[in-house]
């Protein structure tokens, strides 16, 4: 009698899938699994694309602005500051963000199968 206990909802609602559906043959389980994969791929690209953008831009920037090598930050040459130190904190932030987001996607997916 899943799904039928809330007032106002149809007694024949099949909106809560069971874990068995995931393993059953047929399009329904496959769609569920693929939706999870797509969501996780989105999370992965969500951190990889910003990282790629930075990494691809910086070398080009140095070609477009040849005087970049003369810039100093608090006495330290900019290129040393960026490639030696500055690039790492964003990397760590992206890693932490990814772990949280991926866990959230999984929790939500698992919650789909919980009986209310």
């Amino acid at each position: 009698m899943r799904g039928g206990i809330h007032p106002g909802t149809s007694p024949v609602t099949r909106s809560i899938p069971s874990a068995a559906d995931l393993y059953a043959k047929g399009a329904y389980g496959e769609t569920l699994v693929r939706s999870l994969i797509r969501a996780q791929l989105g999370v992965a690209l969500g951190v990889l694309l910003p990282a790629a953008a930075v990494v691809i831009t910086f070398p080009i920037l140095s070609v477009l602005l040849p005087n970049l090598v003369k810039v100093t930050v608090a006495g330290v040459p900019l290129t040393v500051a960026v490639l030696g130190v500055g690039i790492y904190p964003p990397l760590v932030v992206l890693a932490v963000l990814y772990v949280r987001r991926a866990a959230r996607v999984e929790e939500r997916f698992v919650a789909l199968f919980e009986k209310h």
Partner: protein, 578 residues
């Protein structure tokens, strides 16, 4: 010229490894114990162990040395070594752990039902481990050379014997603890000297890098010229010479000082020149970058500006995508209890590596300013080892020397033991089809081969050699893992085509580069930074051939995708795949 501090450091690290490694002997009996330490390692410890295993000679010595020689652009290697774990985290960490295969060949066979694919993958495990082990051996040779002043082969043989012995007797149970300890050792061993140097140098100014002043010998320094070198002197300086300068022999006893006048002088091979403290350092007439070149954020191959943008992107591709295809690293992910823990562990690894790589960058900068003699003796790869001696005296110098030599040796030990486990695992399981005895024999055999080969690679840049191992991994296992995990239409033939084309052409390019095939123009880029074409080639081949051969799709792709991606909570024993 034996450096007692360094000797103590190396001996202590070797003993610690042998002792802790042999403790594992009693508990490791089955293949599971040997290969994945029974899957019960907590996240923080595991992350330190992964980082400890990963930080190799390239990270500890190579990055600082290459950046000192070829400029700031070489720091892309370090950035890529760390960022590779972000890629690994986002695309393979959790799914691979959930899939439950031990090694990349296991994954290849399990995902695509192809014993043939397994054999090819095993072949590439051996190739990548081989390319990666050579620079570790070279690093050990160079380190002991600096420490003992003895011949190069001593370090290579010592490392070969210690590692092979530890692996053949202990397996990985002991090694997990050694590896995590070695991470912290390496971090302290590189950070402490760097901090001490910053504090100690009399002129902590960046003028020598920004071009306002010439580099100066901080202390009295004797430079030994390994080969014939032209040097440019800007300020006259009185020096003591042993050997030949400008065709004149200098070997007076007692040694008399000679004035080097401004201009270019030709120094003969084997000559040593002693410079007084505070004198301006001459620069070699060739092979040393101007400050402007040195500060460029683009990779200069061998210090030369050959299509630098392409070279930079090639190294970025190889290092960002290569980490996830390293055979010795993946096996560690099975020591995480579940997928989410695998993610947490990997994120901690990104953090730990980020804390590490700022130091080689700082040491490269300090080397550029404070160790101009290394440019003259062409020994920039030893900058991490030599810097403490240049600045600190007395007990402090000995402690720091012990620390860097110990840290360096820890780097060779941990990485080469991980690689040797992966090699011996692949050999014993996939080729000999044997158990623990075969594993031990394989470890002995592989250790012997690599030690001998290590004697032959003397003089190559450690970091460049490691970069090549990454290029092969990025062109073979990286596309296999990414497409295998995220793309349901990958077929057996597609995977095979991609592995063979991508990995094969990358290996070919690396071998040609080792043989010195192309050194100028685009051919140099194509063989020395092969990832720029072999990675796209591997992906393209896998995708196109897969689309053309839908009949070689493995059976039950959905079942495999479920195994890769479903969270543990949704796995039901009665329902899950067999």
């Amino acid at each position: 010229m034996t450096d007692t501090g360094a000797v103590v450091g190396v001996v202590a690290v070797s003993l610690a490894t042998a002792v802790v490694g042999s403790r594992g002997l009693r508990v490791s009996r089955t293949r599971d114990d040997f290969l994945v330490a029974a899957r019960q390692v907590p996240s923080g410890l595991n992350a330190a162990a992964i980082s400890g295993e990963y930080l190799s000679a390239a990270s500890f010595l190579g990055v600082a040395g290459l950046a000192m020689a070829d400029g700031v652009g070489a720091l892309w290697y370090a950035v890529g070594y760390a960022a590779g774990y972000l890629v690994l985290l986002a695309v393979v960490a959790a799914p691979l752990r959930r899939f439950g295969a031990y090694t990349i060949p296991d994954f290849a066979e399990g995902r695509l039902d192809s014993p043939m694919l397994r054999k090819v993958a095993t072949g590439f495990v051996l190739v990548i481990c081989g390319f990666y082990l050579l620079p570790q051996m070279e690093g050990a040779g160079v380190t002991l050379q600096v420490a003992f002043g003895g011949p190069y082969w001593v370090g290579v043989v010592v490392l070969g014997v210690v590692v092979t012995g530890a692996i053949a007797s202990g397996g990985m149970k002991g090694i997990t603890f050694v590896q995590s300890f070695e991470f912290w050792l390496k971090l302290v061993a590189i950070a402490l000297p760097a901090l001490a140097l910053v504090a100690v140098f009399h002129h902590p100014s960046l003028d020598a890098v920004t071009g306002k002043a010439p580099a100066v010998f901080e202390r009295a320094t004797t430079v030994r010229f390994a080969e014939q070198t032209g040097i440019r002197v800007t300020v006259p300086v009185r020096v003591v010479i042993h050997g030949y300068v400008d065709g004149t022999a200098h070997d007076a006893t007692p040694p008399a000082s000679v004035e080097l006048t401004p201009g270019v002088h030709h120094v003969g091979a084997g000559t040593s020149i002693s410079f007084p403290a505070g004198s301006a350092a001459p620069t070699p007439t060739s092979g040393v970058l101007t400050n402007r070149q040195w500060l460029s954020p683009l990779l200069l191959l061998g210090g030369r500006s050959i299509h630098p943008l392409a070279a930079t992107y090639g190294i970025i591709l190889a290092t960002f995508l290569g980490a996830l295809g390293l055979p010795h690293i993946l096996v560690r992910f099975y020591t995480n209890p579940d997928g989410q823990t695998a993610r947490r562990t990997t994120a901690i690894v990104v953090m730990l590596l980020s804390c590490f790589y700022v130091w080689p960058a700082l040491l490269a900068l300090l080397g550029r300013i404070e160790a101009p003699g290394l440019y003259l003796s062409k020994a920039t790869d030893t900058v991490v080892l030599v810097l403490p001696r240049l600045a600190v005296g007395g007990v402090g110098e000995r402690i720091l020397s012990a620390l860097v030599a110990g840290g360096a040796f820890a780097a060779f030990l941990s990485t080469s033991s991980g690689l040797l486990i992966a090699t011996a695992g692949a050999l014993s399981h996939d080729i000999l089809a044997g158990g623990v005895k075969a594993f031990r024999l394989s470890a002995l055999g592989a250790g012997l081969v690599v030690t001998v080969a290590g004697l032959a690679v003397r003089g190559s840049s450690i970091n460049v050699l490691v970069g090549w191992a990454f290029a092969v991994a990025a062109s073979s296992f990286c596309p296999l893992l990414i497409l295998g995990i995220w793309w349901s239409r990958l077929t057996r033939r597609g995977a095979l085509a991609g592995l063979l084309l991508g990995g094969g052409s990358a290996s070919g390019a690396v071998i040609s580069a080792m043989a010195g095939a192309a050194t100028t123009g685009w051919p140099a880029i194509l063989v020395q930074v092969p990832a720029i074409w072999t990675v796209p080639l591997a992906f393209a081949a896998m995708i196109v051939v897969s689309l053309l051969t839908p009949r070689s799709l493995p059976s039950d792709v959905m079942g495999k995708l479920r195994a890769l991606h479903l969270p543990e909570a949704l796995r039901q024993p009665g329902l899950s795949d067999p």
